[in-house]
């Protein structure tokens, strides 16, 4: 199953790790700030209406 990467194995793996970590981090941070702003806004709206 695992492909034969030959002498360049580390190179390929490193490139994939960098990409996955960077895009994953970006997605995680985006999701986190989205969640935070949504909660804050809901709290504010509730206080305003209630």
């Amino acid at each position: 199953m695992w492909p034969e990467l030959g002498k360049y194995g580390a190179t390929v793996i490193n490139a994939y790790i960098v990409t996955i970590v960077a895009t994953g981090l970006l997605t995680w941070l985006s999701l986190r700030s989205a969640r935070k702003s949504k909660e804050t806004l809901e709290k504010l709206e509730a206080r305003r209406n209630g």
Binding site: M1, T11, A15, S30, A34
Partner: protein
């Protein structure tokens, strides 16, 4: 029904909220498919060995790095002409995505360059212009955070996006002159797309589609956050009064 309907933040929030799950799921599906297909089921290339597999992450991220800036340019132009707040906020939301994509494209290129060219970094025109692009992203984001008034920040960053676009393009071709002018016959060409065989081309297309969908999903998500944050500030200002 025209596209400008979405300039209304309420309508944008409703519509983007509905679209977001579809884009997120399809982005994840295509990226996973494209990368697994590319990583596990494509052969080595004669010249590059297994490093050819880096193409499936390098090319999509590099394309997005440039096109995110183009999108910011268009969105800034729309803000300057028609003053739709959603447009300005979308440009703001796109900048970090573009910056990350630029970094990933540079890093994967450098990792690939070490065994292939014998160096992590060469002052090749393409590499150099990506570095320049990254600095433009940094300046753009720094200007957004430096100005407190939101509309003024949107105005000024839009001007920067206009000027930056002109000079990013200018630098791209100026760098060409400089490298050939000083180092004759440097032949580190990155034009891989032109002679890519079908075995690599199909998974590459899937990966590109996946990254484009990821960009759209992140863009929608971040724009929604920006709209909410602006609403939060408005409400807090009203409470403080």
């Amino acid at each position: 029904m025209s596209i400008w309907e979405f300039a209304n933040p309420v309508r944008f929030m409703r519509f983007s909220g509905k679209l977001l799950p579809y884009f997120s799921v399809s982005a994840a599906l295509l990226i996973v498919t494209g990368l697994i297909w590319g990583f596990f089921f494509t052969p080595e290339a004669d010249q590059f060995g297994s490093t050819v597999k880096i193409i499936y992450i390098h090319v999509p991220t590099a394309m997005l790095a440039i096109n995110a800036w183009v999108m910011m340019f268009v969105a800034s132009l729309i803000w300057l002409i028609r003053r739709h707040h959603v447009s300005a906020l979308a440009a703001k939301a796109a900048a970090p995505i573009g910056a990350v994509m630029t970094v990933v494209a540079i890093l994967t290129g450098a990792i690939w360059g070490q065994p292939m060219w014998g160096t992590y970094w060469a002052w090749d025109p393409r590499l150099t212009s990506f570095l320049v692009l990254f600095i433009f992203y940094l300046g753009y984001m720094a200007l957004w955070t430096a100005i407190e008034e939101e509309d003024k920040a949107a105005d000024l960053t839009s001007v920067l996006a206009m000027v930056g676009t002109v000079f990013a393009v200018l630098s791209r071709y100026a760098v060409n002159f400089w490298n050939q002018g000083l180092h004759q016959g440097a032949s580190l060409s990155l034009d891989k797309e032109e002679h890519v065989a079908d075995v690599y081309y199909l998974p590459l297309l899937v990966a590109i589609g996946g990254f484009v969908l990821l960009f759209i999903a992140l863009l929608l998500l971040r724009t929604r956050t920006e709209i909410r944050n602006r609403r939060i500030r408005a409400l807090q200002a009203r409470e403080a009064r």
